[in-house]
Symmetry: C2
Subunit: 154 residues, 2 copies
DNA sequence: TCATTATTAGTAACTATTACTGTTATTTGA
DNA sequence: TCAAATAACAGTAATAGTTACTAATAATGA
């Protein structure tokens, strides 16, 4: 069984268009963009190639909490911040976590640690301004792990 | 319009059963457990109450990357580790992130930062042993943001 | 060039979750 | 205490993101 991957026009263009942008598009959004160059491409093909490129480590797949998956042409380790209002995702600089025994077995949990995901959430500049001009309206839903929220259990 | 919440047997038992366990069950799993006490409860009721209790800050909703949502009877801020093989989720102790201007506007991104989510991934003790006994087989899929993975872009 | 087969387009199926609808039962206050 | 008001319910249908299926197409190595 040959496990090599063929070089197709569809795969090439999906990768090219993803690498052009910094907006962390969803599969559906990237599909729209790619269709300008390949009108007959199917959404399934976009999904399949994104998944393959992700498995190969060429791109990154961002499955943020409970949201539609987004893709990132930059596979290097970096973190993201997501707007809780509009879903926009941007890169966020944060130093790597310290004292993480990656590859080692963590003795408190028994897990062999492979890595981590760190995602910030907040209000993007646009949604922040919109909210401020509309006066007082609280955060629309409970954003898990908001730092000020720290009440004791029972 | 009265926005108070009624105290129903269904809501009470969903909360009780969630608070009994430390296994971070999915809605479907909790539904199975709750049915032992309320055979006629519907899955929608479990979902609705979990969502309400989450909004009220009584429980935590863990929407780990791309996975089925899990619920945690402990709403205090803490982090989790997920097994990339079997999906199991455990608590993981890690100190709070430093130098995070929560509530402030981050000048590099323009976001008002509200909080963050930190999730580790790895192999739980069981899956680790299973894998070791089956000899060499690599991690089945690309676990995003694995720390050793750090190649330059393009 | 040709045979092999990975990949495609198009579509159907799947799954977690939410919405809808008529019924039930908690709440409230007369 | 009792009954009106309505939040919440059970049961079911709908939604949305994603994956699986199938016959046709095209990339690849001989």
């Amino acid at each position: 069984m040959n496990t090599s991957h063929r070089h197709t026009r569809q795969r090439q263009i999906v990768l090219e268009e993803l690498q052009k942008v910094t907006s962390h598009p969803t599969a559906a959004r990237l599909y729209e963009v790619v269709r300008h160059r390949l009108p007959k491409i199917s959404l399934g093909t976009v999904y399949r190639n994104l998944e393959l490129l992700h498995r190969l480590g060429v791109i990154a797949k961002l499955q943020m909490a409970g949201e539609e998956a987004r893709y990132d042409g930059n596979p290097r380790r970096h973190d993201h911040i997501r707007c809780v209002q509009c879903g926009r995702v941007d890169d966020m600089a944060y130093p790597q976590l310290l004292d993480l025994p990656v590859g080692q077995v963590d003795h408190s949990t028994g897990y062999r640690i492979l890595g981590y995901r760190l995602e910030f959430h907040g209000l993007c500049a646009l949604c922040r301004q919109k909210r401020e001009s509309e006066a007082s309206s609280p955060v629309p839903f409970h954003t898990d792990h908001a730092v000020p929220f720290n009440q004791p259990r029972e």
